[in-house]
Amino acid sequence: MSEISYWIRFTQSRLTRRRALAGAATLGAGAAAIGVVGCGGGDDGGGGGGGQPVAAGKPQDTTGQAKAGGVYRITQSADPTNLDPNRSTSFTAQGVGAHIYSRMLKFQTGPELAPLSKVTGDAAESYEVSADATQWTFKLRKDLKFQPKGPASVNGRLLDADDVKASYDYFLERNGNRAIMVDTVDSVTTPDKNTVVFKLKKAYAPFQELMASSALFWIMSKQGATGELDTQKVEGAIGTGPWTLDSQTPSVEINSKRNPNWYEKAKISTGEVSLPILDGLTYVNMPDYAQNQAQFIAGNIMAFAVRNPDLVDVTRQVNVNTPKLAMPPGWLLSMYYFKLDNANNPFKDERVRRALSMSLDRDGLIEVFGEISKLKAQGFDLPTGWSNSCVPWGDGGAFWWLDPKSKDQGTSGQWYAYNVAEAKKLLAAASYTGQSFNLNTTNTIYGTTFDNQTEAQLPMLSAAGFKYELKSEDYTSKYFPEVYTKFNYEHAAYGYNTPFATVGEYMYRMLHSKGDQNKSRINDPQLDALVLKQEIETDQAKRQAIIYDIQRLVSDKMYYVPAVVGRWGSFTLFAPYVRNQGAFRTAAYGASVESYTHYWLDRA
């Protein structure tokens, strides 16, 4: 847990990490592009099972008509915990990092692309993968310069391989998210000033996702990485990213200016320019929702993630030309998990787990808590979806997620159906006759939506015949350190899973018998084999197929029973003159690079 309020911000209001992310979850078609970036060789694979189309209409890329200039003024719910993303795993720190620093790779965005579906170059213009996927050789851009700021040793100079190596060493030394890289990477070498070689401990085909993740490895100058520059201060926060950090007034605002040295180009109305199109970004510190609403209505901020109950009133209030974009929720899995290594656990029998799944009225919960029909009648068509057993439905995971309602789910789809009678039959077949079990959960951290949905689900379990003793514990003192981290629970538990940055982490860490987040203590050799198989599959489409197989298997066994907390979309409103906000969507923390660099303001 980064900070207590992290969960409330992440789950409840959609205000923070996804602020001003443009949104129609249109075609759900991901494009797969693995291999040598920059050679135009990516192939587009069908996305299958992606997000639902929404009523907002297909977004248009209007870059050709863009006018340079302007400052995009949006809000943040809190000060960044640190300007150095290696010193805090908080989303606020990662978000700042994304402005200033490059990654080796990033996610490509565009009107036809689902978020996080296609990797492209960032600091690296190309990479090669050895046949056994254990060696990844990255070629750095030859023209990537540091921002024009700071001492001569950094100011405007070219990035080189030593910077990357030093940054990686610093990342390993300090970053709380380093575990996945420590487990995966054996060594990093720099044969020349433009080449960085990552040698892996094992074949790991999704390594490019780790290199593109906006929550992991940020490339700084060697001066920053070694402490010569104080990267915790504005003056020392110097990178090769698209935005130069200009000033920070704590609890007031952060200002960034466009980096004129950035490599990515686009053709706008006046000819070819380097991105960003905007002159700058301003994040105004604004933790309170009512204040956000007031400022947006008054025209003082340019984007606002409106809560569904307020949609009608707020949209009535604002300019009729205010773009409204429906967005899926964040990629987050709420689930039941089971202590399968406890011999006396009634949930050891998969029929009991299936019965629990069939006792949940998922559509009913979404309808009630999301007010879907009511909003649809008022003209707001929100995307909704069911999480799969081990891959959540939400922004960022559309390419990998298998829709449990789809035919592709196969026979395992039956265990998602809301069928109390069938659930009772399963329990009877499993000789479950009402033995009481402990259900551990928490109610002090995840926000009111989670708490209310927990309360709504409990009678559903009872209706199916389950008899439980609810142990709702304080998150900080009990649930997180004991249940969540050490798996000190007896029978079943319910809560959110850690929002992993990549689907590979969902696969290995949650499902493999040696996974550190294997909360259900699964020990399934068939599943282990599939998890390892997807790790070495370099073909995106084939890897997707394996991950679909995994979801079918896990669904059939219901090793995790997914709930639907927050599995409905929301609308983000924009000032009428903001452009391109729907066409360049991304997820996680990379918005400032993958989205805002394409935004422009259509006003005199």
Binding site: M1, S90, T249, V252, A290, F480, T485
Partner: protein, 316 residues
């Protein structure tokens, strides 16, 4: 009087020391420390990193040693740095404390200028419609939470009038007009809540004082009613009210935390809330000490002011 003040100042030292010990212990005893929260959920099981960070932050030392080290730094004016952002606490407080003080002072001034005259009015017109109206208003002001009122002001203001308060804070030296404007609404909201108590207490005290013999004497001597009220009655009725004002400093600090967050005021409020959530020990400890000092000093000032308000009060 001087001996009294000196004695009280000396007594402040063990009081504040006791507070520092309690706060220090309480922050260390809460589940999860700074490092647990800093590394996040993903890094929670990275025991090597956590150990490294704890060593760096001095958290592997014994509690008494940590306390003594911190106390020593405080005595030299070093309040430490945030374990999260690395920014010195002193630097942050230098910017934030004046903001909170200004907000608090404005709120207090408003509450006094509203509460006391209304209380007097209510007493003078006892059992008339003015009295009933003001008593009703004072109860309402006591009952309404300031954060609720703040949200109502924002929502109604934006929905009905497309109004929003300023979104950027300016210091008085940067722009006095904007500075007052951003503080005005939260100061009034805070002040309204505080004025309810003053109204009621002032009314009660005035009614008691107005019944005293010396007031009858003053009237018999031919003094104008205004003179009787202002020069004689109010001054004596104020003594308990001044006590309340001293106690309300604590309420003010608590109330301003919420309103600073809502109205985008970069004071101490947001700073301390974030620090508490993150277990940012240097900030929590330093701020608690400062707030405790403010409360102790304000109580002392209240006690000293009695001697001026009531000549019967003598300190030795």
């Amino acid at each position: 009087m001087q001996k009294y003040v000196a004695r009280r100042l000396l007594l402040m030292i063990p009081t504040l020391l006791g507070i520092t010990i309690i706060v220090f212990m309480m922050t260390r005893l809460t589940p999860q420390d700074t490092v647990d929260i800093l590394v996040g959920e993903v890094g929670y099981q990275d025991l090597a990193l956590k150990e490294q960070l704890r060593k760096e932050f001095g958290l592997t030392n014994s509690i008494p040693k940590q306390y003594v080290t911190w106390l020593g730094e405080i005595l030299t004016g070093d309040f430490g740095s945030s374990l999260y952002s690395g920014r010195p606490v002193t630097e942050e407080l230098k910017n934030r404390v004046p903001v909170s003080v200004e907000l608090g002072a404005l709120a207090l001034a408003f509450s006094i200028s509203l509460g006391i005259p209304v209380g007097i009015l209510s007493a003078v017109y006892q059992d008339k419609w003015i009295d009933y109206a003001t008593r009703g208003v004072s109860v309402l002001l006591l009952a309404i939470p300031s954060f609720w009122l703040a949200l109502i002001v924002l929502v109604v203001g934006s929905r009905q009038f497309s109004w929003a308060p300023p979104s950027k804070y300016f210091t008085p030296w940067q722009n006095l007009g904007e500075n007052i404007y951003i503080l005005l609404v939260p100061a009034i909201i805070l002040g309204l809540g505080l004025s309810g108590t003053k109204m009621r207490l002032m009314r009660t005290q005035m009614l008691e004082v107005l019944r005293q013999d010396y007031i009858r004497t003053a009237r018999a001597k031919g003094l104008t009613e205004l003179s009787v009220l202002v020069r004689h009655a109010s001054k004596n009725a104020l003594i308990p009210v001044v006590t309340i004002i001293g106690l309300q400093v604590t309420v003010l600090i608590a109330g301003s935390v919420i309103l600073e967050t809502i109205f985008l005021i970069p004071g101490v409020g947001q700073y301390v809330v974030n620090a508490a959530q993150r277990r940012d020990y240097p900030i929590i400890q330093s701020l608690t000490l400062i707030i405790a000092t403010v409360i102790v000093v304000s109580n002392l000032l209240v006690d000293i002011s009695y001697a001026y308000l009531d000549p019967r009060v003598k300190y030795s």
